[in-house]
């Protein structure tokens, strides 16, 4: 008992020196498994705010982000040339997340100030351009990317979707679509006050294919020739099987 108190005290003093208000986080799953019948998933993110000083007058807010692996994308724009619609213009973006959701406990401007957004890249627009390199380019292409991916549920701006109780308990549900890309998904939780950062917490959730899906995916990428021959064999066998089955049926 005495040991336990000692440990608690040590933790508390450590927390005191770190920050006055910190996040304790839980997830309903620590790994998303993609199986043959995967139809998307719902991620429940919940937690508590530990504090060891009285509440301040200005309310605390929570913002959290979930992002998927990034890859380069090219956005193309069609226009009419000689009566037909063809791609005439395009822009390449070095790294755009395959999935990105950001949820806040209040309206956006009350939760995330411009300075915080600029430093920690919370908004969707910032998440696409973590570096300031291509910021001055034509923004129509970035807007189109955000619009298309938002329509498909890949990018989500969830204002007021974090429920915060008594300035202490918070929870939020993030819908993961069925076209998830495999990889490590960083989760970030920000505590803010008047749009300024109070403290930050980071963790990861793994999205992995399992079972047959995993086997086929790794075979296709590690031994492509074997995979190719395997698919040929299956196709030829299926064709032969159907043909002989129907021949049998017709004879009877």
């Amino acid at each position: 008992m005495r040991l336990l108190t000692l440990i608690c005290l040590t933790i508390l003093t450590w927390l005191n020196t770190a920050a006055a208000e910190t996040v304790v986080l839980g997830l309903n799953q620590d790994q998303v498994s993609i199986t043959a019948d995967f139809q998307g998933s719902e991620l429940l993110i919940f937690g508590a705010i530990r504090r060891d000083k009285p509440l301040e007058a200005s309310p605390l807010q929570v913002a959290l982000t979930v992002s998927g692996p990034s890859s380069p994308v090219t956005i193309r724009k069609k226009s009419r040339v000689a009566g037909i619609w063809i791609n005439t213009d395009g822009q390449r973006i070095g790294a755009a997340p395959s999935f990105y959701a950001v949820a806040t406990s209040a309206a956006w401007q009350d939760t995330v100030g411009p300075a915080l957004d600029g430093r920690h890249h919370l908004s969707i627009g910032q998440a696409i351009y973590p570096q300031d390199i291509e910021r001055n380019d034509d923004s129509r292409f970035q807007d189109a990317l955000i619009r298309i991916r938002t329509d498909e549920g890949q990018y989500q701006l969830l204002e007021n979707e974090v429920t915060l109780q008594e300035q202490t308990l918070f929870k939020s549900r993030i819908r993961l679509p069925s076209n998830l890309v495999e990889g490590s998904y960083p989760i970030r939780v920000f505590l803010t006050r008047d749009g300024e950062l109070v403290s930050e917490y980071r963790t990861n959730i793994q999205v992995r294919k399992v079972g047959l899906e995993r086997f086929l995916y790794t075979t296709a990428h590690n031994t492509p020739l074997l995979y190719g021959i395997m698919s040929l064999a299956i196709a030829l066998f299926a064709g032969w099987l159907a043909s002989s089955l129907f021949a049998l049926i017709r004879q009877q």
Binding site: F38, P72, T74, R80, I86, N87, L145, G228
Partner: protein, 302 residues
């Protein structure tokens, strides 16, 4: 029932894929076309990424062609000699086609080229077939005996060879050239090329319609096997689960297609195929002309 496709990385209704495979299988058995020209746009529509759709449907076409060819072999309606000659041309053509495709890719606008290729070839092939079939039906209604073998420039070329099953004694140059052309187009357009080969065999080489279908399927098996292997090793875009679902529907459909085809008159068969080809052509042409609902598109990686 939703199924997650490991390579395409999307979740799609399994019965929808079985149905699509079945539909294309019926066409394959009836007309001797692989059905790629129909299946590829349908797969895009269902939400399969284009690269995966093009690579995987080769696998499905192979299965339904195999199923169809075995049915035709039993009825002795495959000209293996002619098939081999076409295949020799086809493999060389496919190789040239891949080189041309990669060259055009460097220049950009390869998508547009593929679409224009589709529209132009489908229009020419479908239009010619429609006109010819209507004329043939009119002639048979009028009571005149149908003209069997017309002598045209094809019969004046050297290196003659006997194709017993087709009942032909012609030069090997035209079939080689047909095979070559089909191979090039197959590589560029990502299809088996049956919809071009079947009319070419009927009108250019003068082969009897019943033999044409089995022979075309025979050639398609090998060409699509080659393209499947090529895609699997270079881009890893062959999705085996997708292929399996499509080909289960496909092989069953192909058997029914062969049965239906055997009961129909050759002229009727040709009119149906012509109508189908023209329908797909019109759809693709409209897509090029009508303003798209979204002017912007995203491609990952590029």
């Amino acid at each position: 029932m939703q199924v997650y496709l490991p390579i395409a990385e999307v979740s799609v209704n399994a019965f929808l894929l079985l149905g699509l495979g079945g539909l294309v299988g019926v066409l394959s058995g009836m007309f001797g076309v692989g059905g790629g020209f129909l299946l590829t746009p349908l797969l895009f529509f269902v939400g399969i990424p284009p690269a995966v759709a093009v690579a995987t449907q080769g696998n499905q076409i192979m299965a339904s062609s195999m199923s169809g060819v075995l049915a035709h072999l039993k009825r002795r309606t495959v000209d293996l000699t002619m098939g081999s000659v076409l295949l020799a041309g086809g493999l060389v053509g496919a190789f040239l086609g891949v080189m041309l495709f990669n060259y055009l890719k460097k220049l950009g606008q390869v998508d547009l080229l593929v679409e224009l290729c589709y529209v132009v070839f489908l229009a020419i092939v479908g239009g010619l077939m429609m006109i010819e079939s209507i004329n043939a039906i009119r002639r048979s209604r009028a009571g005149a005996p149908p003209k069997r073998k017309k002598h045209n420039w094809v019969h004046g070329l050297p290196f003659k060879m006997r194709f017993r099953v087709s009942g032909l004694y012609i030069s090997v140059i035209p079939p080689l050239m047909v095979g070559l052309l089909v191979g090039v187009l197959a590589a560029i357009m990502g299809v088996g090329g049956g919809f071009i080969m079947v009319p070419a065999m009927i009108y250019l080489l003068g082969m009897p319609t019943k033999v044409v279908i089995g022979t075309s399927l025979f050639q398609i098996i090998f060409v699509s096997a080659a393209t499947t292997l090529l895609h699997a090793t270079t881009s890893q875009t062959v999705d085996m689960i997708l292929a399996l679902l499509l080909l289960i529907g496909g092989v069953i459909g192909a058997q029914f297609g062969t049965m239906i085809g055997a009961r129909m008159k050759a002229e009727q068969l040709r009119i149906f195929l012509a109508a189908l080809v023209l329908l797909v052509c019109a759809k693709l042409a409209l897509d090029l002309v009508i303003m798209p609902s979204d002017l912007y598109s995203i491609s990952v990686g590029g």
